[in-house]
Symmetry: C2
Subunit: 462 residues, 2 copies
């Protein structure tokens, strides 16, 4: 309000008093708040309409949110475009709208676009942090550890199989050079923990044995993915693997996960004590978020993902008896923040590479077909490596690992930025990511068609 | 996650692959997310510790949040500073912290500081939008209209008395020139609806007759303040009042308030119908927020405050039978967003102007004492203009209008930007704003010591 009023007034003054022209940097601030709110309206409309349509045809709502993002994003209506998705203020329909309705100046549009994009992107990232915190709260550490070996095998096979299959296939079948082939192979290893976890939650399968194996494997996969990236980056530069870097990543990841859980056990009684002592509003939520944000920060500092920190914080706090109350309070927050993430991820995705009418897309599409095959098979087989578990839906585990989502897009982004990848291979990776991401939610709901025995229990305990 | 991973990887690559150096604009993105999360940790610690201390000594928690903001802000520890509060990346302790721990580069610090400040400022503004939406939901349109005449009188007297008293006093007693005196007089007219409403809610007095009169008057005061600003800006430029501009503001404000409420009545059944039809998560919250954000946007476009739109949306939806459920879901969201607003407002306030040891502050402090006197008396008398209400706490109504808060700071900000005000008068306005803001919450809790009869009912209905 402060800024908005200051700058509205300054805008008034700019019409009247020329000497105030020095304060232009905040000239558009009320318009920025207004723009952020209208962007949120667009995001909420896209996510809700998409989710509702999918829910009605028995598809996971998150697929609808992703499709909604495509509709409003860079691929179609340009209502929501971002600098890092190929947008700028001149092709942003939202900026045009603000210029027409809210008095945004053409000069101010470029900086307003930058700021607004940063704000919405940050909200989206906080959204996925909250999602993983919520998933952590819904998880059960004991059950996760019980299936830990299975998760680890699924994760390792799910990284190794598509990596080896993809790299060799590209070299042998498509005669791609070694370095770009390794790069594309690495892009096949990712698993989008966000999309998988959301679909599992929607199918009420988060707490089934399959769900726990998938979540554990997806978390480990995220760590493995970071290691693979470091290896590939080293290879691309010097042609050899930088062992110290890799070792540092492995040691810090293990230390972080184990350390957080051990310290968390010691910390939990104090957490409950503090929460019980507090008298003002937010007495449970605020300490919980402080804990989650600090762990996310530490995870970022040691070069892991912020979402790993949030997930760990959730698992730790799930063991306190405040857990259910906390879950209930996190729900509305997740309801308004998580859709931002899914809509923004796909709003940034340009699906024009999928158009076979454009000749230069065709070579990429053929390679993409191969990559998609490897991407799906390489993950589906992981379910069949699970041992010692009778009556388990092996297909579901494999299918749960399929979506590459935003993690896969990262590789494509680096690929096009670095010039390592020929453009056809770059496009092929993007197509593979889009297809695996959009195909996984309906496939998962298909293979999970008969409800799991445990999920009923989970539903009741919500 | 997308951006954070891309840029972490790019950071890796920047160590290894020089050709990736073109992507520096997003180089620091994971650090920005980390910085935003750490800023939120600082905000939450400051607000919670401050609020808890105040709650224990029977002062309104919001006073503690404001004091917490002073401690972490530009006035003391510099953990949370903003470009528009006189901070920059070199004197931000948070930026130093990120450079030391999270590998933020010195070059990147300036832009990271800008982006992070914008994100936190926007979150703060969304926080006050949510606060006013929540206050709207807690309000009762019928009761607000019943005391409408009283509210209008309180608002008009509360604008006219301090304006006339301040302007004449400065001219006659301090020999200030007419234009700056009018400007300072205008700065005395504001009422901080945010602080007043929060204190009333904390004292369980939002639904008492006094509370309803204060809220109504504060809303009208906000509109009157905008009109006063337009008048003063016109006077400062041409020496005369621009009638068309003023008329436009009055007509659009009235049209907006009346129009929203009438259209809202027609819209409410559809809202309930839509909400009942939706099946996916957030089915009540998301449509409610879409409505609130659209009204806030319209309010901004017609040059009113976004918070007026949010308040109106709250009043409209308060009339549906979904209101209680919606209130319950808004609570956790307000819990995490509203503290950001109060901490940020006072983190941006530099209280060094209060130091009498600095000689150049003294002239300002003498004028400030006069302004404070007028500011308090000019609002306190408003309670005694209320007619036709027996058994009403007249003192409480007047005291409720005292805090100038962020609205008052706006005038000071414009004053120092425009050069209209001599620096001593500029400092005096800031001192007046700080004092009235910090003195109002404890005064209010003092004058409301005996609980109102209606507030018990209100407490039960929560």
């Amino acid at each position: 309000m402060l800024i908005s009023t200051i700058t509205r007034v300054i805008r008034f003054d700019l019409w009247h008093i020329p000497m105030l022209a020095t304060t232009t940097e905040s000239e558009n601030a009320p318009v920025i708040l207004a723009g952020v709110m209208m962007s949120l309206v667009v995001i909420y409309l896209a996510s809700t309409i998409g989710a509702e349509i999918c829910a009605r045809i028995n598809l996971p709502p998150v697929l609808g949110q992703l499709l909604g993002g495509l509709v409003v994003g860079i691929s179609a209506f340009h209502l929501l475009v971002f600098p890092d998705g190929g947008g700028d203020s001149s092709n942003s329909l939202m900026m045009n709208f603000l210029q027409t309705t809210a008095g945004l100046s053409t000069d101010g549009a470029a900086s307003a676009f930058q700021i607004e994009s940063e704000v919405i992107s940050t909200l989206a990232e906080i959204g996925v942090v909250i999602l993983l915190f919520e998933i952590g709260l819904e998880s059960n550490l004991k059950e996760l550890l019980e299936v830990g070996t299975q998760s680890a095998i699924v994760a390792v096979v799910g990284v190794a199989a598509p990596f080896i299959g993809g790299t060799l296939g590209l070299i042998l079948l498509f005669h791609v050079a070694t370095i770009p082939a390794i790069f594309a192979g690495a892009a096949l290893t990712a698993t989008s923990i966000g999309i998988t976890a959301k679909v599992l939650a929607e199918l009420q399968h988060l707490n089934s044995k399959e769900g726990q194996i998938i979540i554990g494997a997806a978390v480990l996969d995220d760590i493995l993915g970071i290691i693979v990236l470091a290896v590939v980056a080293g290879l691309a530069k010097t042609g050899e693997v930088e062992l110290t870097n890799i070792l540092y990543l492995i040691v810090s990841a293990v230390a972080f996960l184990v350390g957080s859980i051990l310290i968390g056990r010691w910390f939990n009684p104090y957490f409950v004590k503090i929460v019980t002592e507090l008298k003002t509003r937010g007495q449970l939520l605020i300490p919980a978020l402080i804990f989650a944000f600090i762990l996310s920060y530490i995870a970022t500092v040691i070069k892991l993902e912020a979402i790993l920190g949030a997930f760990t914080a959730g698992i730790v706090l799930a063991e306190t008896h405040k857990c259910r109350e906390l879950k209930n309070q996190i729900v509305p927050i997740a309801d308004i923040l998580v859709p931002i993430f899914f809509v923004v991820v796909s709003a940034k995705t340009n699906i024009s590479v999928l158009n076979p009418m454009i000749p230069e897309n065709r070579e990429g599409l053929i390679m993409a077909s191969f990559l998609i095959l490897v991407a799906i098979l390489g993950k589906v087989i992981t379910g069949f490596t699970v041992f010692g578990q009778a009556d388990i839906n092996r297909l579901a585990i494999g299918v749960g690992m399929i979506p590459r989502g935003e993690v896969g897009l990262v590789f494509a982004g680096i690929g096009s930025a670095s010039g390592i990848l020929p453009s056809s291979l770059d496009a092929a990776i993007i197509v593979m990511v889009i297809l695996t991401t959009f195909v996984a939610p309906p496939l998962l709901s298909l293979v999970f068609r008969e409800p799991a025995t445990v999920s009923v229990q989970a539903k009741e305990s919500r």
